[in-house]
Each structure stands twice: as C-alpha cells, then as structure tokens.
Symmetry: D3
Subunit: 331 residues, 6 copies
C-alpha cells in the first residue's frame, strides 16, 4: 500500500509518493512565465499541483492517465492544500498497485467470488446451473467480475462493488424465496448473478470509473444479453422457453421503461428481483450518503441518487439537534 495517500497530506510537509495524473497543462503566470499545472490523485482524493522549473524536460513522456512518482512540498493556499512538485518521473508498472488508485470494497474479492460460485452451484435446475457456472468460470469474465464497480456514481461505486452487490443480492434472494414459497429460487439466483454482467464492458475502471463508448451506445442490459445468448448457444438442448424466461428476467430488471428496460416485469420472479435489486442499490446509496459529512449533524449530504437527504437517526434520537433546532423557541 502506497504512502502517503492524498487524504494523509497536511500543510508544510515534504513528501515522495505515487499518483495518477488526471490533468496536465502548461500555463502562464501573470508575468508571462510558464509553469506546469497537474491534477494528481489516488483513491482517497485529488490534489492540485504546480511545477515551476524543469518541467519541460521531466514531463515530456508523461500524459493524462499515467502513474507518476513525485517529490514535492505540500502547502496551504487559500484554505486548500497544494503540491509544489520538485521532481517527477513516470512510475514503473511494478511500482503500482492499482487498488491504491481506485476506491475498493472492504470485502475480500476472492472470498466473495467463492461465495458467488457456491450460490451458482446451489442452483437446482441443471440448465440454469450450467449456464451460470459456465459464465462465472469463464476466465475472461471472472477476472473482471472481481474488479468491476456496480456503477459510476449511484451505488457500490468502487472496485469489487459489483461483486459485493451481487453476493448481497443472492443472500437476499435466498431469504425472500424462503419467505414466499411460491418463488423459484433458481430463477432469482440466475438473474442476480447475471443481471449486471454487462457492466464488465459498459464501465471502464482501470484508472477512474467511467463508461466505455460501447457501454454508452448499448448499455449493460443489451451487452449481457449477448453474453447470455452465446453462453446458451454452447449448451446443447437448453430449453427454448427457459431461454426466453432468462432473457425476460434480464431485460426487465430495471423495472420501468424510463430506466432502460424494454419490457416491464411480467414474470413473478422478474418483479421480485427488480424490487430486491432496487432495494439493495438504495441501501448502498443511503449508506454512502450517511458516510458523507454534510456539516449538519441531523442530516446526511444530499444524495443525487436518492434525490433527497437522509436523517442521521442515532444522532437525532440522542439530541441535541442541528443548529437550526438550537434556535427553536425555548431550545
């Protein structure tokens, strides 16, 4: 693990550290003297950086999305930290651990993946089991399944986040299917495991989390549909009706047209899965909102994903309340 992280920096400090280059630009001071302006970052944040001398020679081979090793001085300028770069060079691949530069799940991805495989194996229907395990054990897929985030912003927006979301959903599906005996657990597990496989290609997540051009043009639902079509084509005898059911579960999982589902859920398990997926995503979004310091003791930051802020229940029940409250008559 790299040291220090951006979040560790304080003013009046000289450091040597690795960063990812988010932006690089030559600028002029008012006096017309050129200098280099860089945005450097890691998984804990970004720091605005400037290099006043020698940057012409030292940064020729450095561009956006490169990893660099930097020696510099941290200073406080207008209430914000700034880095004055003294020395800089491109980092070598072996010096870099990618997980230092993108936020990642607190869970162990290998353990989670083993759990996921166990869920796949627990599927009773042989066709569905074969389909799910075929995909999960495809090396081209599993490597990325262990890395992918579940979203760019909305929820589980960190490396391993997709896996965390899906394993959570499998657990939720299992207990809910226990509660409602009419539910087919095999279908719920199948759609839980496959419903976001398209995100492996819709998102890119090697430097920062973003969308690929293909992802923007097609979306993960259409992308995973192709993955599943090919996987089923490799299983001779896969019943065509079951294929239709699996396809319907995938394309309807957003639950509404305006969220990109070309069909509304018309199978009981499709409806239930939509609820569970939505609930788990919202739970993660609430968790993220509450983890953010909003400057208001009673309330989380405003969450764009949820279109509202959430009460900090524990604080509210214990009082005293927010500054606005303090001002109440007799308060």
């Amino acid at each position: 693990m790299k040291t220090p992280f951006v979040s560790d920096l304080t003013g009046d400090q000289t450091i040597t550290a690795f960063f990812l280059v988010h932006a690089k630009e030559i600028r002029n001071t008012r006096e017309g003297k050129p200098y280099l302006r860089l945005d450097l970052g890691d998984r804990t944040g970004n720091i605005e950086s400037r290099m006043w001398t020698k940057f012409e020679t030292q940064t020729q081979d450095i561009s956006r999305d490169d990893f660099v090793k930097v020696e510099g001085r941290v200073e406080l300028y207008r209430d914000k930290l700034q880095l004055s770069v003294l020395q800089i060079r491109k980092a070598k691949p072996e010096e870099i651990d990618l997980t230092d530069f993108l936020p990642h799940s607190k869970e162990d991805v290998e353990e989670m993946y083993a759990e996921l495989l166990a869920y796949g194996e627990s599927i009773q229907n042989p066709w569905l089991q074969k389909l799910v395990l075929g995909i999960l054990t495809d090396n081209g897929i599993s490597v990325r399944y262990k890395k992918a985030p579940a979203a760019k912003v909305m929820h589980h927006a960190y490396l391993g986040g997709l896996l965390e979301h899906v394993v959570g959903l499998c657990g939720l599906a299992k207990i809910v299917a226990g509660h409602y005996p009419e539910l087919n657990l095999d279908l719920l597990l199948t759609v839980a495991i496959l419903h976001d496989v398209g995100k492996l290609d819709e998102l890119c997540y090697t430097r920062a989390i973003g969308y690929t051009t293909d992802g923007q043009l097609l979306g993960h639902i259409v992308m995973e549909l192709e993955t599943v079509i090919h996987a089923i084509a490799k299983i001779p005898g896969f019943p065509p009706e079951l294929k239709t059911v699996v396809q319907h579960l995938l394309i309807s999982h957003h639950g509404q047209y305006e969220f990109g589902s070309p069909k509304l859920p018309m199978i009981r398990e499709a409806l239930v899965f939509h609820y569970l997926d939505d609930l788990d995503s919202k739970m993660a979004a609430v968790r993220a909102a509450l983890a953010n310091d909003s400057g208001d003791e009673d309330w989380s930051a405003y969450s764009g994903a949820l279109q509202r802020k959430f009460l900090r229940l524990d604080h509210f029940l214990q009082g005293p309340h927010s500054a606005t409250e303090k001002a109440k008559p007799g308060g």
Copy 2:
C-alpha cells in the same frame, strides 16, 4: 357454513338458502305487470333474482344490505342463471355467519393475531413496545384488526387480509433486518404493525368491502396518525424525537406523493419499509391475478393493480403454449 353457495347453483334446481340483498327494485313487465327484481349474493358471487307474486307482502320490511332466507327455483336464461323467488323472509341474526357473505383469509385469524402480539412483544425498545402493545390490546381495535381486509380491490381484499398482510410483513422485516445489520428492527416492526391501522376505519367490511365517508375524506394515513397520537399521549415520558420518527414512518410509507404520502421516506427504515410493504402487496396482487382464469393458458388475467398481466410460468415452461402460439408457423 351455509348451503348452497351461489357458486354451487346450477339450472333446473329448487333451493332454500340465505343471501345478502345487494339491490331491490320494483319493475314492470312489457305488459305492465309489476314484479320484484333482487340482486342476491354471498361471498362466492351474486345471482339475479325475480319474484312474480306475493312480493308486496313478503318484502315490505326487507331492504338493501339485509340478510334473507329464500326458497326459489334456479333457471338458465340467456346463458345466465336466474333465481325465481317463491318465498322470502328476513333472516334472524343467529341464522347468519358473516364469513359466509364476505371472502376471508384461509389463515386462522386468532393464530395470526397471537403471532402479531408476539412480534409486538419482541420489540426491544420499551417505548415502542408499549406503544404497539397498547394499540394491539385495545379491544376496540383488536376485534376489527382480526376482521379488516387490506384493501377494497388492490391486494388482500378479503376479511382477515389486513392481518395476513401485516404478519407477513413482520416476518419479512425480521429476515431483511437480519440481512442488513444497519437496520433497526424495532422501528420496522412498529411501522409494520401500525402502518395500516387506519384501514380499520377507512374501509367498511360488514356487508361488502367499501370505503367509509370518513375514509374517503381523510385516508388511513391521517386516520392512524390520530390513533397513534392518542396512544402516545397515554404513555408519559415518550421521547418526542421517537414520536416524530414513528409519525414520519407512518406518513411516508406510501413512498411517493402521488400515492398519498405527504413526505418521502427520509429515514433508512422508512425507505426499507416502503419497499417491503410494496413488495408484499404486489406479491398478493400477482397471486390474485394468477388465481383468476383468463382463458389464456400462458397468461393471467389483466391485473388493474399491477397494470399488466403475468406469465403462468409453470405452464409456459412445460408447453404446449397458448392458442396464439399454436398458430405459429410450423406449430
């Protein structure tokens, strides 16, 4: 249990049975001869009935919503059964078992209510436990809680349906709180038990399921708010913040303004409860839709509550398919 039920009737049959009067009207034949037209029913359906003689004397004291004992002859007329009434009189209260006239839950209400009380007792927070048990053991409430349906049409629309829905929700809340450790089970159980208490007064359900005038003007959310305000007023020292939280959970449980919630869920448990309540209602609506014969082997009847029809999964997976399918090329 009464015999026969409307659903047991066939043509060319003479019967003696009890019914509920849904409509009563004097009409004239084309020849100008007056006769009595009645709509008679029980929990299994209605039958159009006519009485040609003696009705002036026998039906003077009978009006809509009365129970009657009838002797008559069942006939098939234009493909529909009709009842020719020969004798009719008002039924005595002791002759009538209300559950013969309204559909009711298949579960035992006393057992369900005991289960509900056990959920109430399992609440750890002493204030919430006191609040919930105070309401559940209020005789004026418990008698009706065991009878009330959960809705007029949308879901659990039968006697005992509300109780069935709430007990189911408590179970669901318990396992979901087990899955997400950050959830406060006490709050989930409290809102599950109280969230529809207003329906005891919003709906009327002694003859047919409908809305009271008060229910239409106020709605169950406002009605139960008053019940809870009064119950909390009787518990000295109930923390005001906790009261606010309970009120928020109640008023936000429909999840959206357009469904009559004056506030969106802004507490984590409020959001989760909205999902669970919605899911359980939809599950019941799907169940009801699939129980309806639609004349199409692959599909349920169109469900107004769900705004769509649902696939009969088992039939579809086993084939052969609907008549429309049969017509496919090569089919």
Copy 3:
C-alpha cells in the same frame, strides 16, 4: 378467392361458404334446449351463428381456429345479421387460401421483396451488405418476411404490411439521404431493412394477428438483436465497432424509453431513422383512419394510434360541412 365473404352477406339468403371458427360454445335456450353458438369469420368481418340441430354429431371434431365449410341461412335479427347453420364440416387444407381470412397488402409481395433485395444489394459497405443479404436470403426468414404484418393494430396491420412499410422506408431513406449529404445511406438502409425483423416472431399471423408469448416477454427489438448477433457471428472479420453501431441503430429506433428503446438515438443516422420510421407509421395510421367511415363527413374516425381524429381535407375545402356545421347560425 372464396365466395361469399362476410361483407357480401345480406338478410334472407342461403349460402355455402368457408369460414374460420373464432368461438364455439353450447348454450341453452330459455326453455332449456341446447344449441350451438359459433363466431365465424373471414378477412372482411365476423358473423354470429347458431346451429339448432345435429350439431352434437357434426361439430365434435371442430374447435376454435379451425376452418369450416358451412351451409346456412342468413337472417336479420335485431338489426344484425345472423347465420343459422344447417350443415357444417371441417375444411380440407387444400380448400383454404389463407389470404381469404386475413386482410393483406394491395401490393404484390414478390415484387416488393425483389425491391427489398435490390435495396440490400445497393448497400456499398461490404460488411453491411453481407449482413443484410445474409438475412434477407435466409429461407426461414424470407418466407415470413413476405407474410408478416407490421403491427397488430397501429399501422400496416395486414399480411404483407411489414414488407410494404420497409420498402417504403428504404425509398424514403434514399431521398432524405440525398437531401442531407452528411447522412450515411448504407446505415439507413441497413436499419430500415432489419429494424422490424423481430416482428416475424413477435407477432403471429396465421389465423388472426396477435402476439406470441415470446413476443410479449421479449419484444421485437430484443428478438431481432439475437437474429443480427447470430448473422454477424457467421461473417468472419465483421468490424466490432460497426457491429456496435448496427446494434445501437436497432435498439434506439423507437426513439424514446417509454416506447421500449433501452437507449436514445446517439448516432445521427439513428435519430434520422427514428423520425422516418415514425413518420411512415403515422402516415399509414392516418390513411387507415381516413379510410374508416366515421359518420362525420368532415372528420375521420378517432384513431387510437394517433390519439385524435383527422380532417377530411378535400371534403372540408369543398363544403358543405358536417351536420354540426349545418346548424351554424345562417348556415
């Protein structure tokens, strides 16, 4: 061509003709005498039919969706024609010409298909040409492409209607691409020819036009996506970016999420094609609305597809106007 058609029937007439059975039911008269009630039809309409004797023996092997030969008498009853069936038997396959029973395009399908192939051959891009011709010359597809309607109700709802719509679109695309030189005609022709191929399976159209169960669960966009994926897989070297573009053109052609497109058009040709497809469909819907006698000389019948009625321009410009007009002061 069969004679007579339903639209040819008048009262007081004895006929012998072929029909399709839409419904079959045994009923009782008021006197309790059973009789057979049938709905019989062809592409020009339906007629309610009854058989009073001998139906037990003659109709044992006849069920809904069968073709029958009937001898009977047409009568006017309560302002509607009715058929009293005297003799009935199942029709032999060789006695039936399907086009007598479903409305069909006035254009020659073989000529239209030749035109379509010519459009396919005119595509300059070799990959797209290979893709389009591969699909058009697939026998399993071409046979049905010549038959399929474009919709159940909305527009071109008759046999051959899909082909008529697509050929029209190709012509429109050609002239519009001539008008806007920045447009890529190859892409427009490709999406025009393939955009509704999924309807070959989404709809069923051997007896009446309806949806298959698969069609309801997946929709034609998802269905044709699979057709195209398989067709591309058979063309070695097909550029992956071009594949993405073709997929995007297909999935975005409904133009909006609420019409089932999981992505909005983000390529210039995708946007233009959406307009052309929408325009051609609406033109056909207006044509159909105006062809319907509405009983109002100035106005078409209300069109559900267009959510309005349309002015009969020629009539309005020549006057005199509708009855409502006649009532105008001084009119």
Copy 4:
C-alpha cells in the same frame, strides 16, 4: 313552453308533443317487417321511439336535426319508456321555441347583457373601453353572446351559460381588484369580457351543443384573437404595447400549455385572471355535480370535469350517513 317534456312522460299515456329528431333509421323485425326507429328529445332528455305503420309516407321529408310534432303512446318496456308513434309531421318554425330543446340559464339574458355592458362602460382606460364596447355592441356578436354556452360538457354547458360565466367573472374581478390594490381592474374586465368570445364560433348550439369544424381546428383562443385584431385595427391610435398586453392576456388565460395556452401568464393580471376563470369554472362544475343524483346520499356523482366526486356537506353534517356508513361497527 312545450308540454309535455320528456322528463314528464310516464308509462301508459297517449301524448301529442314537439321533439327534435336525433336519429332516424329503418329497421327490420325478426320476421323481416320494416319499421322506423327514431330518437326524439328535448332539453330534458331523449326517448326511444318506434313507428310501425305509415312511416314511409309520413316521414319522407323528415331527417336528423328536424323538429317534429308527434302523436303517440308511451309504454314501459324492459324498465325503460318507449314511444310508439302514431302520427308524425315536421313542425313549423313558428311552433318551436328553441329554448325548449336546449337547457338554458335560469338568469335573464337581456338583464345579464345589460350588466355586461355596464361593466364594459366602467372601464376607465379609453382604448380598452372602446375595444370592449365595440365588440359587445357589434350586432353579429351580441346576438350570439346572449345564446352561447360556455362549454360542451365541462361547465355552464347550457344556453346563456357563457354570459352567466362572464358576468360572474366581472363581478369577481371587481372585488378581487378591490382586495389587491396593485391590480389593474381595466385589464381584468377587458380579458373577462373577451376571453371566451371565440366560443361563439368554436361551439355550435342551435340544436345540441357541439364543436364546429373550425372550432376544432383553431380553438376559441385563436378565433377570438382574430376578432380582437380586427376590432383594434378599427381604433386608430390604439397603443401597440397595450395591444400586445391584451393579446397576451387572451392567449395565456388557460394558464398552462397543456390546456392550449401558447404562452404562460407573464403579466400579473394574466395570472390572476387565469385563477379567477379557473375558479369560476370549477365552482360551476361542482354545482352541476352536486345537482346530479348519484344514488349516494353523502356524495355527488363523479365529475369528469373535476376528476372526483364531491361531498354533500349539508347531508354529511346532519347524518345519518350513506349506506356504507350504516354498516360501520356500532352503526
């Protein structure tokens, strides 16, 4: 006033009366015997009528929208009244008072029009006064202004209804302008008097209330805009800014795009007038809904214009309540 009205008819009665022909059709009995079927009506309702003999000769010159004099016998058939026509002839113009055939305002139209003129004269701004009086004293307009209804269904849907609505609005505008001193009463009166002048041509109301073809194509806002443009063109020196203001008041008075206003109110008086117009229309719609017998003592009939039903306040406050209420526990 004609006697009897449709609402006065009872079974077993022979009458001679004038009616408006709404429909006329020759039909056949089951036995093939032709008869004449007519829909006859006046402002109180319609009655289905049949003529069995002599209709060929007596009704040759009679068609829809004609007034007729009829001798016939009223009978009760299947719970509905029917008229057996014995003699029929076209009515002479002098025998007909139009107000017998369309519902009309209870107010005296001449008195109301005098009141309207007085409001026009009370306008202080000379340009606006000249504009308003010029229109109100135009004979082609005033004759129809005294007759026109305010709408086909929504509110004041009877002869003289438009005048009643406008005079009421002028009064309301006057008191509201008294309440808010910043309001310009002249503008409010001007828009009140002119805002629905286009309805004189949008609606037709000589036989039944309906829309003219022009009215459907243009709507009253566009139609009255032309009236006002022409009237202003006749007033030399009319300030162009004031003309723009008047035009804006007219085109924005529906308050929202979806109700056909091409601009939202952006002048204070435009906003206020929209509220007053909307309020007065809704008041009339509530009045009409409550005047309708709904069969429920607590509630009005469902109002399509208001998309809800309204409480009968007096009845509810006095109790006892609706039948549904009666069934409440302890009720």
Copy 5:
C-alpha cells in the same frame, strides 16, 4: 433600530455596529499566517469580514448564530465590500432587537393579530368559533403566530409574513363567499386561520428562516393536524362529522398530491380555499419578483417560485423598452 445596516455600508468607512455571525473560520494566508474569516449579517444583507490580529483572544466565546458588536473598517475589494474587524465582542441580549436581523412585514403585527381575532369571533358556528379562538388565544401559539414567516423562500418570507398572509386570506375569503352564496364562510375562515399553524413549528425563524428537523420529517400539514386534534379533544361535544370536515380542509389545502396533500379537495370550500391560498401566495411571489432589480427594465428577475419572470407592466406601457427592444429595426 440598529445603525448602520449592511445595506448602508460603503467603501472607506469606519463603523461600529451589531451583526449576526453566519460563519466563523480560521484560515491561513498564502504565507501561512492565520486570520479569522467571518460572515456577518443583518436583515438587509451579509458582508464578508476578516480579522487579522487579536482574534484568538477576542473571539474564543463567539460562535455561529451569536450576535456580536464590531468595530471595523469597510473596504472595496474586487468590486465587493469587505469588513476588516478591529474589535469584536459578543452582544448582550438587551442590546439586540431581533427584528433588525430578520426581514419583517411592514404591517403592525399587533393590529393584524387583533384583526385575525375579529375574524375568529365573526365565525357563526359555535364549535368552529370555539376551536379557532381556543387556538388563537393559546399563548404558546399567539406569540409565535405574530413572528412566523409564511415560507423560507416562496412567498411572505419575512417575520410576520404568515400573519399577513392569513389576514389577507380571511379578507379574500369573506368577499368571495359574498360572491358565491353557496359557500360556507365559517369553514373558509376556519381553514384560513388554521391552515398554516403547523408552520410555527415547521420553520425556525429566530436567527435566519429555515426548517426544523421535525418540520422536514413531518411538514406543517401533519404538524397542525396534531394541534387541531388536541384542541378539539378539549371541546366536549364537538361533532365528529365537523371534525372530519376540518381535518379534510387542512390536509387537502395544497390541492395536489405532489405538493404534499394526502387527499384532493372533495368539499366545495376545500377546493375554493385551495384556490385562494394559491392565489394569495402567487400574488406575494409576483410582488417579490417585481421588487427585485433584474437589470432589465421590462422584466422582473426570474422567480423560482413562479418558474418564470414577470412583465413590469407600467414600464412596458410607457416605453421606451428594454435594451433588446432598442435594437429592433427602426427602434
């Protein structure tokens, strides 16, 4: 009244004045020297302030929402005024007049309250009069009723604004009830007086206008419902139907679900009151928008509450017009 107000300040001026602290923060200059940054304000605006020396000792006991006495120098920096603080100390309660720090109504609150009481006494129905006067004369309520604003931003957003709004509504209700004789003035006055009582607790308005946490979780409709329930509970014999009516009037007064009314108005007076409340709020919002200098002579500033800008009618009618106009051809 304090002097000077923020709006009185100009550059190059030494002042001694009282302010409210909106923010307080220690910052560093580029050279690393700490200084104090304060946001100071009163009811006329805010000024950014800095203190360069002695702030460690002088501001230890000062925090956000405290009142302070300040000696300092006003300077113009980058086109904005700034205050260099020389001396600062906490103000004593007796030195502060709260109305200097929050904008307030231009009307006399005591006079307005007397007017409100007179409206309450004018209610004829004894139950409603008792209810309204009971609440208005409750000391815990009246003190705050004289202070509360009607909203944070939308309309009447100043101390005493709620009272001004309500008294205005009572007057409006009286004249409108005079115009429509079918209206029950007692109900209109009751709902006018009580409809925003919940805002006394929903908003906080001792330092700045904001929402309390309770207010955000419950909203004023739910809050005032509890106030009214308790007040009615203290009036023995209050008719239950009348209570339902009052509750309905309160909960429906926002008129639409999306504005937080859990029920639509279903009583005539509820519908009318919604219109009057909405009209009076919009009038105030227009007034506020026009009072704002927008830099455009023809137009008000854009109003967020109204989602548009409003024409300055007087200016427009007198010309010359906005700069954009000037540029018109021939202009």
Copy 6:
C-alpha cells in the same frame, strides 16, 4: 471583413480592431484606484478588457451595444486572454459591417431568397400562391427575412439561419410529397415558408440574438398568425375554409401543447410538416454539436437542444477510441 477577430488573438500582441461593447463598468482595484472594465466581442467570441488610464475622457459617450475602435495589448492572465485598452473611440457607422459581429450562414442570402421565391411561385393553388408571394415580396418582411436567425440557441442560431432552414424545408417537403402521393405539396410549401415568419419580430438580431419583449409575451406563432390574417384580408375572395386550414397548419406546427402549439396537428399535411420541421431543426442541432470540440474524440459536446451528446461516427469506426476506451483491459 474586420481584422483581427477575437478568435485570432494570442498573448503578447498589440492590436487595433473594431468590437461590439457587451458590458461597461467602472471598478476599483484593491488599492482603491478606479479602472474601466469592458466586455468586447465580435461574431467569433468575447474578450475581457480593462482600461487603466484616460478612460474617463475617452469613454463618456460609449455605452453597451455600441461599436468601438480599440487599440490595445493582448495578454495571458490566469490562462485567459485579456485586453489592456490603450485608446478607444466610438466607431462610425460606415466603419462597421454588421456581419462581422454576428455569426451568419455560409450560404448566400440573396441566392437563397431567390430560391424561396421560386418555391412560392411553384405553388399551384392560386390563393396560396398569392398569399405566400404577397408576404415574401413585402419589403418590410423580405429585408428581415434575409437576416433573421432561426433561433437564439437551439438550431440555425446565426444570421440568415431562418432562411437556410426554410429553403431546406421546402426542398425536403418537395421530395417527401413525391414519396407520398396523398400529400398536398402546395400546403406543405405554404406552411414551410410562413411557419416562422413570426420570428422576424419574436427575435432581435441587430447586435446579439435575443428575444424582444413582444416576442416573449406572444411568441412567433401568434405573431405570424396576425401577419397572415392581414395578408389574407388583402386578397378578396380567399376561401374561408382554406384560411382555416392555413391557420391550423401554422398554430399546430410545434406538434405538441408543451411546445406552444394550441392545437395538435389534425390535418395530414400539418402532421407531416411538424415532422419535417422537427427533423431539420434536429439535424442542424446535431451538426452544431458535432462542430463543437468536446475534448472527447468519440463524442460531441453535450447538446442542450438535444439533451444528449452524439457519436462522432467516422472517428469511432476508424478507431482508436476515446481515452476512456484506451483504459479498457487489454486495450
């Protein structure tokens, strides 16, 4: 053509050039020294400018929207160019070519106008031809028709843009009417030529493109309606039905209420014209979006008019892809 344009400027350069004044303000430096701040621009962009001395005497007669001649020095300050003004004076009218200051069409307006007249002359219907040519040859109109932009931002937002849009639409109408023989080309050409005539007055475009006050209050649909009403009034015998049709085509051309059309298209040509107008506007918006450098090789800038960004098809098909793509695994 003026030199240099703003887009030609670089740092460290002394220039003499003409500009349009967008803003003019006296400010103080921190030291309290006054200076002049100007926003100067031409059709290629704006530059922030300061004048440190002599501005009191040189700029007294200069105000916003004046043209000026400036001598000054261009400098780079904080990454942005700034102009230090040394000498400034008002420009003389003969020194200014307006087209240097507003962006304009690349097409020749006289040629385009001749083409437009030819389209007008090609109209077969004599009434429509007379109407169209009467308007096109009205000098007050033609001068401005050659200048007006088609919109402020959405599409064709440059001088001559309206003409370019309309001529394009006439061409499109002609080929589409060729494709659908049921279309009346005369009507399509008439509405194409007249549909935006109101924009001549709705927009102002002598200095910058904006809306006139009249334009904001009425909108171009209402404005051109008046133009057409007056033009028709000058053609004796113009058939009233044809006038209604023309008016309907104009008022319905936005296609939907929410875009300011008070009527939906109810004539076939009205519907088609709405599609063509919308398509041509969107094509221009896509063209503008793609012409904007977004910093992403695969994607255009986000287009507010289209609410999305568009793929750069050529770049995407040729690869390599955007930076985000580069980061794909194995990429």
